[in-house]
Amino acid sequence: MIEAQDIRYAYANKVEALKGVTLTIKDGEFVAIMGQNGAGKSTLVKHFNGLLKPSKGKVLVDGVETTKSSVAALARNVGFVFQNPDHQLFSETVEEEIAFALKNFGFKPEVIEKRVTWALNLLSLTQYRKTSPFLLSGGERKRVALASVLAWDPSTLILDEPTIGQDHEQKEKLRQFIMQMQTQKKTVVIVTHDVEFVAECNPRVILMKEGKIVADGEGKEILTDPALLELSSIVLPQIAQVFTKLAPLGFPKDVIDIYEAKAAILKQAREKGMLK
């Protein structure tokens, strides 16, 4: 469980990035944090693994204040993937990068081998096992960063912009993996600008603006509220955009799922005798 109690944070240049944030994320929850560039999303999630400590207020992870536990101790349970993979990669080969944390945590060599192979496969990186992460494409580097954290199976995952550089297939694999984490009661927090990805996952959504939380609720509810989204510099998912415009025909506005959309349109077309 992650609890933030009225936290504030100012960087060395005096920019106050968090201006009083209170929230609770329970074990097993899947949360997407969204909002304007510079809203404080990355700053907030860096508090969840103790990378940053609040200037005011408290952050508790599993009941322990982050100022009272070391980053190393927190790291064992909370896996963190940076927005920019280059802030995280340093090994000479992809394989070593993924094995690094596993070695640090003292896993046995045969377990390490198994986990590395598993993570390479999950993130479609097997062909790059012996390659330097710095010679990979942007999307591939992001997947190396993801692999190196997923490999040690932390109970809480914090992923800052996990879909950067990812094509449709990779996003779908990521979505399925997160769903699987859900069934194991693991906590997943993502920071993302990818509205369509969030619409497909339908997690709890938290909107931030200028260092504060401006909305917190069920994905479908928030992603179909044009006023809230505009306030947070987000656009409606494409299906919701279509249905907002179809309101004069009596369609509901809160549709984000493409299959639900299809069923609703076909139903009306049938009623109007346009289909057999």
Binding site: N37, S42, L275
Partner: protein, 284 residues
Amino acid sequence: MAIIETKNLTYTYPGATKPSIVDVSIKVEKGEFVLITGPSGCGKTTLCRTFNGLVPHFYQGELKGEITVAGIDTLKHHTYEMAKHVGLVFQNPENQLFALSIEKDVAFGLENVGVPREEMRRKVDWALNQTGIYDIRERSPHEISGGQQQRVAIASVLAMEPEVIVLDEPTSFLDPLSAEKIFEVIYKLNKEQGITVILVEHRLDLTAKYSNHLIVMDHGAVRLEGDPRKILASEETRLIGVGIPKATLLYQMLKKEGLNLGDQTPLSSEELADQLLEALKPRD
């Protein structure tokens, strides 16, 4: 006249076992808005790097075939000579920022080509405003958020008003509404000043509607090229793993069920909504 033309371009990074772009022959006319897409690692960024000569001048390696950009053979000219003609926004904005302030970063290119102070001020302010970073212009580009960095990189290129603007996955760091606003600015430059735009993207929901020329790459090669409406409607595109815009996908799903909304494949929610409003409107 084609502003970019490549003939059988094949390129291998130093030490790599296989080429990252394979036999690419494309032609981009002046004033086109080109969208390049394809699976992660298929060679999109590498192709962009050939447009301003970073490949092969900076990355070395082996380039075969021919390429001309704005009438210049990039193989025979330095990257800095290309900067006047081609502005490239990198996939990772941080790699592009180096000055002590955002403002200085945006002014850097103009300073280099000796633009008078007055004019420079005007252009820099314009670019800072268009990308929504005027208020933070005095801050260091290393003490800002990822999306703010992406905006600095875009502003630097806009300020130069090059003939060709190349944007490599800009929406990965931009919040959706800002991305839309910035695309509108670029679209306007494209329409009004005939600036050629090359946009690399996975998220076609946000971008397909602007393009008139789509290139789908896979494994280093160009697999499909042409009218975005035709290509996004094809089964082959879906099989390559391109993320088809939801509006386009819904149109096709409805068509399969026998609901025909007209011949034009929609690329945006506006287009699909108009087709549906027309098809389902009350008739009496």
